[in-house]
Symmetry: C2
Subunit: 381 residues, 2 copies
């Protein structure tokens, strides 16, 4: 493990892996190959096959959709956490308390995808029996994109929701220090013919990755993204990044940032406080280097059977989606999108290209991981 510990410093900070940032000739990685590589990485740090597959499926799905910040970009952080045992890759979640519609689960410090899939499957089972399943987990880890768990419920014909708390990074309105995470929430609902609505959003105005991109470009930050150390809005990307105080969705108090702050708190109540996990400023900081303590994140997984209400839900969803996508656009060259459309387009692009185009620095990280973990390096299409 010595060499792994040493590896913890080789890409500190937030690496950016968005395709549009790449200047090099395209080197594409097939979806299956990206998955294979990540499974091998996890297995090399003693994660059992099934858990390695669950975690890799989650990460590669994010890259496939163009959510690079939640894909392979996180691999090193997970591997470091596993290598220093601050995450238990073999842990199997355990039910602590149960009613027909609810369950309280201890993730026992297992991998986020393992805990999340377990909990959502339980919520699905309950929704199929009594209409709703509401499962709270404590003792969890970073669980990737929140929409993944909504999709799991949608695959069973249900409406799915999930929320998680995260490391402190959002300053409450009027505060100059972070007291909540980016605390994302997701909701997914099927329409007919494979169409869907899939909302997956942080409750901060933007993710840290967007600040980082402006910083690398030397471009200013728009108002409402980030604060400076005195609590004022900053347009300085360097200062915004180093301060680490994102603004809630809505930005400043004048533009109703207190609503985004309220939403972030709501997510923490339903995930962290209700489950008995860490919450607010109790949650540890987390970097690419991994952390030395267990995260004990809280998460909630909700599945609802739409057939318990008005019949023909999916038909109405199709009409609903059409009404929104069909709203007259301000700029005819920019169609009105529905939550999830961008990701669907991202998947189509990857499928058409035949693979995922990672950034150079991501590929370097992979080379290093392959060397340290003694696994087969990533191959290209």
């Amino acid at each position: 493990m010595g060499c792994l510990r040493a590896s913890r410093v080789f890409s500190m900070g937030f690496s950016v892996t968005h395709r549009t940032m790449s200047a090099a000739a395209p080197k594409l990685v097939a979806v299956a190959e990206s998955r294979r590589f990540m499974i091998d990485c996890f297995k090399a740090v003693k994660v059992p096959q099934a858990h390695a597959e669950a975690q890799a499926d989650l990460l590669v799905a994010a890259d496939h959709r163009g959510h690079f910040s939640h894909g392979m970009n996180r691999l090193e952080m997970y591997i470091n956490d596993l290598a220093i045992n601050s995450t238990d890759g073999a842990a199997v979640p355990k039910i602590l308390k149960e009613t027909p519609a609810t369950a309280w689960v201890d993730g026992l410090n297992g991998l986020g995808a393992v805990v999340g899939n377990y909990c959502m499957d339980l919520a699905i089972k309950k929704a199929k029996t009594v209409g709703v399943g509401w499962v709270c987990a404590k003792g969890s880890n970073h669980y990737g994109m929140a929409g993944w768990y909504a999709i799991r419920a949608m695959d069973q014909g249900l409406v799915g929701m999930s929320m998680t708390n995260t490391s402190p990074l959002m300053a409450p309105t009027r505060a100059k220090e972070a007291a909540l995470g980016t605390n994302p929430l997701s909701l997914g609902a099927n329409a007919t013919n494979g169409d869907k609505f899939l909302l997956d959003m942080a409750t901060t105005a933007v993710a840290v990755g967007k600040i980082e991109i402006q910083r690398r470009k030397g471009a200013p930050l728009p108002d409402g993204w980030a604060q400076d150390p005195s609590g004022g809005v900053t347009n300085d990307a360097e200062l915004g990044f180093s301060t680490g105080c994102l603004m809630p969705l809505g930005g400043s108090e004048l533009t109703s940032g207190y609503k985004g702050y309220g939403l972030g708190a709501m997510v923490d109540i339903l995930s962290g406080v209700m489950s008995g996990a860490n919450y607010s400023t109790q949650v540890r900081k987390w970097t690419h280097a991994g952390a030395d303590s267990a995260a004990d994140l809280g998460q909630v997984f909700i599945a609802v059977d739409p057939n318990c209400f008005a019949p023909n839900f999916e038909e109405r969803m199709s009409d609903f989606n059409s009404r929104l996508r069909g709203a007259t656009p301000t700029d005819p060259s920019k169609p009105v999108l529905l939550a999830g459309d961008k990701e669907k387009n991202g998947m189509a692009d990857v499928d058409a290209a035949g693979g995922i185009q990672y950034l150079e620095n991501q590929l370097k990280t992979c080379d290093k991981l392959a060397e340290i973990l003694k696994i087969e390096p990533l191959s290209f299409v």
Copy 2:
């Protein structure tokens, strides 16, 4: 009913009743007297006593908290709707379908508070039995402040949530026409010693009332509040008001307004689409004059028993609240608030003053209503 129809024009548009707008000497109305007056108004248009009380309790609670836009300000709209039978004041909601955790309810075009209280009480009963109650209503009307129903669950020691769709007023990101309402959501959770967290927010950046206040002041609108007819952001309050296209929470696409748009859509899916009510652009326009068709709004009411998860929820909520309120303020004279604190302070102010201070134009509306409905006028403290 002829005189009532005539009355439908006497205060068109959005009346503003916030106390700080008043220039006249304070004329205070006791909370009990405001309630009495509204009950009398409802009874004068044939609303049964119990329903009149339910609706008045809801409205006076909003005024008591300083949510004037959702209090007596709405009375005339309700009365007009009742007078022309576009709302059925005597209707009693009916369960259409039920499971241990869910119910689908037809509000049968009844008063919002009657439908809402019925549904939340049903959700509470189910939460006490199986941990969660999830009740969707179609055939409902404007149900006042969303937080009212969360409070009803909190009064039973539960976590409460509610959402409703409303008349189209929000332009989806990239669109130049409204396709969603202000679609509010609420979540309430008790802490110890009567402390609480109570989020109650529209998913638009601001309510129409805030645009109206800037317009009356002749003041510009901040970026991110409203659009002009071409779909651009406008700072012209007059133009913003006449266009009737509010921006979602987050404002423009650059500042992640698509998240607020996604949240508004989420609320409509869970309330309108799932219940089989009107949704999106199906929902009628609604003015102070009342509307000639049934609203058929959709709403959802969720109660969750926190005891199904980690013990001592309320103790942790107290600690959670302290962490947020205790975050170092940017400006020491402006303390960091928690969702619901402003309303709690509003109640304390009214209690200390001995009554509610309505705006002059609200009092004029009340005089007119008293005359037309032949009821005892509002008296002052």
